[in-house]
Symmetry: C2
Subunit: 414 residues, 2 copies
């Protein structure tokens, strides 16, 4: 018999409770064990008074730690007080399963260390990609590979918004409003639309893939709040979509890590991922490209991943878990390979801008005003040997001509 | 230290040997173990006289069993003598890793049983989907799900042929020839093009997913040898592609299992899988649709999966492996849901055929002769409440009109 205590009884928590109940017989048959949900920590007992589980709910965290609990499931979200509770649970030699990307991105290394020292396991499959089995695949199934790169859509909310902007011609504000109405976006969407959520997930993913700690604060982060319908017109004119892409890639001796809106081919694997779906493309030196797609969030997809972590712990109780105490990686925020970029130069001096662009960039495809009718803009697809050179050229252009703003966006052709 | 013996030193075997060498340091660091390749069984020593591993090659299977071997990697392919060797290895309490779908589809249940009785593990991740981590994902990561259905492209050779027929307008014969020239198809391509290879993989996948033994001999199997360029014209006219699809799906109390050419939307997840790539879509009741894509064969993708099985065994030596001793499933070869189908009626009596079709099928979209110019054919997209009714209607039509052949193909709209 395995006793489970849960911290939090919101969407994820109640999903996990339901899966535990639903899989009772199957677990008994397949792994000869019984899962008992023995305690659930809630903030407000009153709110759950109709729940079937009312007799195991508690407001007192000490009830959780006092009990004879084997595994603590942390489903409260946010860094505090989750951090303190998880730390105490591990120190008390309880295994911990969490879906909390903020907590792992912030304190993963330290918590895994505490877990290892105490002979217990900390698992967090649900923290990246919801129900998509990506962390286990990375750490166990692709163990014979050197991972060369990751390209991923890790945030369902922003992918939903970008899909609606692209397919239904909505403005950013309209699409965000729809996402909020449909429950895909929070009332305060900052963490999603600014790219922080995706960056935390990329930090976890890259740290596991590259076996060096990729601190999420070192990742270059651009959200989608600056994307407008004209960006989509430029992209679509070339057969491209715009996606908020998380990229982790080995470049020489450092790891390029960024979250930003990127143009990808409409018909590419990532270009086709729509609405709330996530996708993760892993490039391993032995396996080649492997792609994982599915719902990156939601009650049951997330609960499915939490549940698999629980079963894993039961089946391998004595095994050491993931190691995460890697050295801090040297993180690079500039793309070092030759690439195409979209530049949008906001200026009243269109002729000078065109002259300047074509002088600075040997490959330069200028989009004429007539196409999308912006009076005060010159746009061009340019090629640059790397991002540092691109940025220098942008600076030169800025000095040369009278312009307000130059916006750049990467264009991935493969 | 873990001693590994290998049976076979062809493409897969040499890939595994290379990965073992390449990952030496990493394994020592991460799992504190050393892998030693101690023996390799080959048929012809002469052929490998230039090999770096010449000193550990042997023609005598007894050398393999005599040694102090922990894990036997079976990389010879085919059912015999692999079956006998694997059985003996398990009885001698050696763990076994194999990439051999024929062996597992034929004898998987018995061999897993022997493994369990002897306290060792039999693993076969590479037998389905090459380097794509699908079996572990199914059995461990999706353990909280009831699997409702599987739709998959499991054979890279046929997918390559169909891609070339569709995109480059090649005939079946031309595309097959190209596949053979490029090394994607064997000189004798029967097992691929007749659908047997995909059916064996579907049998393994379905048996694990549905926890009932889906015997591959009970699967409805149609290969791609009858597909012609006109099929592609009909499909493309509706925005569809043709894929050799392996489908396993719960229908009432039985499992529908088939491998056959199916029309899927050009822009759907499976419609976009091209050339030698494989894709597996799993529909779980908690997680929803999850899709896994990657190279389904080849030296290093396959070796990547074999290697992960080896590491898994080292890390969990004392664990029981997969259970496979399920009851024989009731396998259904008729699709029980309402669906659209393409019917191609080969007849000189076109007017009667059109009249018959429109009388028998309330939904009937007849493709007029002018479109693709076949003088002796009437084609139609029809809807039928299930496949049994469809087949009855086809019989009625056959009796009613003078026709040679009626060809049907399923059209999946979602």
């Amino acid at each position: 018999m395995t006793c489970i205590a849960m911290l939090g009884y919101g969407t994820v928590g109640s999903g996990v409770a339901e899966l535990i109940l639903k899989n009772k017989n199957r677990l008994r048959k397949n792994i000869k064990d019984e899962l008992i949900l023995s305690n659930v920590l809630v903030r407000n007992l009153e709110k759950h008074k109709e729940s079937d589980n009312i007799n195991i709910l508690t407001k007192d965290i000490e009830d959780i730690f006092r009990g004879n609990v084997d595994i603590v499931v942390e489903a409260m979200g946010g860094v505090n007080p989750a951090y303190e509770y998880v730390k105490r649970a591990l120190q008390l030699k309880k295994h911990v399963v969490t879906a909390n990307k903020d907590l792992i991105a912030e304190h993963g290394g330290e918590l895994l260390d505490i877990a290892n020292k105490n002979g217990v396991v900390l698992r967090f499959e649900a923290s990246v990609g919801g129900g998509i089995p990506i962390l286990k695949s990375l750490s166990e199934c692709l163990v014979g590979n050197n991972i060369k790169g990751i390209k991923a859509i890790l945030n369902g909310t922003t992918n939903f918004i970008l899909s609606k902007m692209s397919k239904e011609n909505m403005s950013y504000e309209e699409a965000l409003k729809l996402a909020q109405d449909m429950g895909f976006a929070e009332a305060n969407p900052e963490s999603d639309v600014m790219g922080y959520d995706a960056a935390r997930k990329l930090s976890i993913l890259s740290t596991m893939a590259f076996e060096e700690k990729v601190n999420w604060k070192n990742i270059k982060i651009n959200g989608i709040t600056d994307i407008d319908t004209v960006d989509f017109q430029y992209a679509q004119g070339e057969g491209f979509e715009i996606k908020l892409l998380a990229i982790g890639e080995y470049q020489d001796n450092s790891i390029y890590a960024s979250v930003s809106p990127v143009m990808v081919r409409k018909n590419s694997t990532l270009g086709r991922i729509e609405n709330e779906y996530n996708a993760i493309l892993i490039d391993g030196d032995a396996v080649g490209d492997v792609v994982f797609t599915g719902k990156g969030a939601g009650m049951f997809p997330t609960a499915s991943a939490v549940f698999s972590d629980i079963v894993d712990i039961i089946q391998n109780k004595k095994e050491k878990g993931i190691l995460f105490d890697y050295n801090e990686a040297s993180v690079d925020t500039l793309w070092r390979k030759e690439n195409k970029w979209l530049l949008r130069v906001n200026t009243r001096n269109r002729v000078d801008a065109m002259a300047g662009l074509s002088e600075l960039f040997p490959y330069c495809k200028i989009i004429t005003k007539g196409m999308y009718g912006l009076e005060d803009e010159v746009a061009a697809f340019v090629k640059s040997e790397n991002e540092a050179v691109l940025d220098r050229n942008i600076e030169t252009l800025r000095e040369k001509i009278d312009c307000n703003n130059i916006k750049k966006m990467m264009m991935l052709e493969d």
